[in-house]
């Protein structure tokens, strides 16, 4: 069991580690200096890959074999995509996808 001081030290370490990862690129490539071309390229190429990674991260515990076979997730993502391409805005597809997912897991599966 940790003492209060040890707990605060642990929290401080985690806060420091988080800040380190968030500040690092800005410290290594300061505003005043031109950013290397490779880094500028990464800055443009990374986001699509990152968003794909974040989607997989959100779905990492979905069981494709057994459980619900990922069916509620698949259906809710289809609803989200359909609403997005229909209206091209943000709130409607997010709300529609979430509500259909909640209905699916609460009432159907």
């Amino acid at each position: 069991m940790m003492t209060v001081t040890e707990r605060i030290i642990t929290i401080a370490i985690c806060a420091f580690a988080t800040m380190f990862t968030r500040f690092l690129p800005f410290l290594v490539f300061p505003e005043k200096k031109p950013t290397p071309k490779y880094i500028t390229y990464l800055g443009k190429a990374l986001p699509s890959a990152i968003f794909a990674m974040l989607i997989v991260y959100c779905l990492r515990n979905v069981e494709l074999v057994g459980g619900n076979n990922g069916i509620p997730e698949a259906l809710a993502i289809i609803v989200t995509c359909a609403l997005y391409f229909w209206r091209r805005q943000m709130l409607l597809p997010i709300a529609g996808g979430t509500i259909s997912y909640m209905l699916l897991v609460q009432l159907v599966f």
């Binding site: 069991m1 940790m2 040890e6 707990r7 030290i9 642990t10 929290i11 370490i13 985690c14 806060a15 420091f16 580690a17 988080t18 800040m19 380190f20 990862t21 968030r22 690092l24 690129p25 800005f26 490539f29 505003e31 880094i39 500028t40 390229y41 990464l42 800055g43 190429a45 990374l46 986001p47 699509s48 890959a49 990152i50 968003f51 794909a52 990674m53 974040l54 989607i55 997989v56 991260y57 959100c58 990492r60 997730e73 809710a76 993502i77 995509c81 997005y84 091209r88 805005q89 943000m90 709130l91 597809p93 997010i94 996808g97 979430t98 997912y101 909640m102 209905l103 897991v105 609460q106």
Partner: protein, 248 residues
């Protein structure tokens, strides 16, 4: 603070707010769950409150409950935290251009660059006539506030809360899907999106759900470096400040 300056801030705040509504739903839900989890693990609400304020990163904060319940291990804690949070380095690299020339505000923007804030601030178009810096600042601050209040409330209320909100956590998945589609429709070729899915799924299968992020990032970096020529040649990579089309 002059009147004109506070008007600029208020306008930016009001412009940013609608975009953050999905984050409000997601962060209050996840924050409450996290606060309750801390409460039933025997921690006073001061802990989730302090952690949400200073760490402001959901996945690490959930993980820290286990850390805080075992014995103190500073070096192990540091390494684990760095591993869990490593993806933020990518966010910073992607935001280098957008967070340029924003004065003192940039330090808070760096500090508050969580998954959701990055996704919004990277994708959103700053509306015409709205101060860029204060817009990004408002998105960051609102998200921070949602997470902070949600987890503190969860820590205070504890197991008194009756959760009839099964499935609400999907709001974060839906947010990332919409952000992904927005990015997808801006690009002519989708090499990098495909690389992201490929890397994530391969790593997930190989390393399992709890430790696939680091290998995913390594594979993404390798792919983007190896295929830099074709990706750049294909064009359609967008990172300029004025781009982005989504409405709230």
């Amino acid at each position: 603070m002059t009147k004109a300056k506070s008007a600029v801030r208020r306008k930016a705040f009001l412009a940013a707010f609608p975009y953050t509504i999905p984050i409000f739903a997601g962060f209050w839900f996840l924050g409450l769950v996290y606060g309750v989890y801390m409460n039933v693990s025997g921690f006073s609400f001061w802990y989730p409150m302090l952690m949400s304020l200073t760490v402001f990163g959901g996945s690490l904060e959930f993980f820290m409950v286990t850390m805080l319940l075992s014995t103190v291990a500073p070096l192990e804690t540091l390494l684990l935290a760095l591993m869990i949070q490593a993806r933020h380095v990518f966010y910073g690299i992607a935001m280098l251009e957008k967070y340029r020339n924003l004065g003192w505000k940039r330090f808070y923007l760096y500090f508050a660059l969580c998954d959701e804030t990055f996704s919004l601030n990277y994708t959103l178009k700053v509306p015409v006539g709205i101060d860029r810096g204060w817009f990004y600042f408002s998105v960051s601050l609102l998200n921070h506030l949602y997470w902070f209040t949600g987890s503190t409330l969860g820590g205070i209320l504890g197991s008194m809360i009756n959760f009839n909100t099964q499935g609400l956590e999907f709001v974060m998945t839906a947010l990332f899907v919409v952000i992904f589609l927005e990015q997808w429709s801006k690009e002519k070729k989708h090499y990098t999106a495909v690389a992201g899915f490929f890397a994530s799924i391969v790593s997930l299968v190989a390393f399992g759900p709890e430790s696939f992020l680091l290998p995913t990032m390594v594979i993404i970096l390798l792919l983007l470096t190896l295929f830099r020529k074709p990706v750049e040649k294909a064009g359609g990579l967008t990172a300029s400040i004025s781009e982005g089309t989504v409405d709230p």
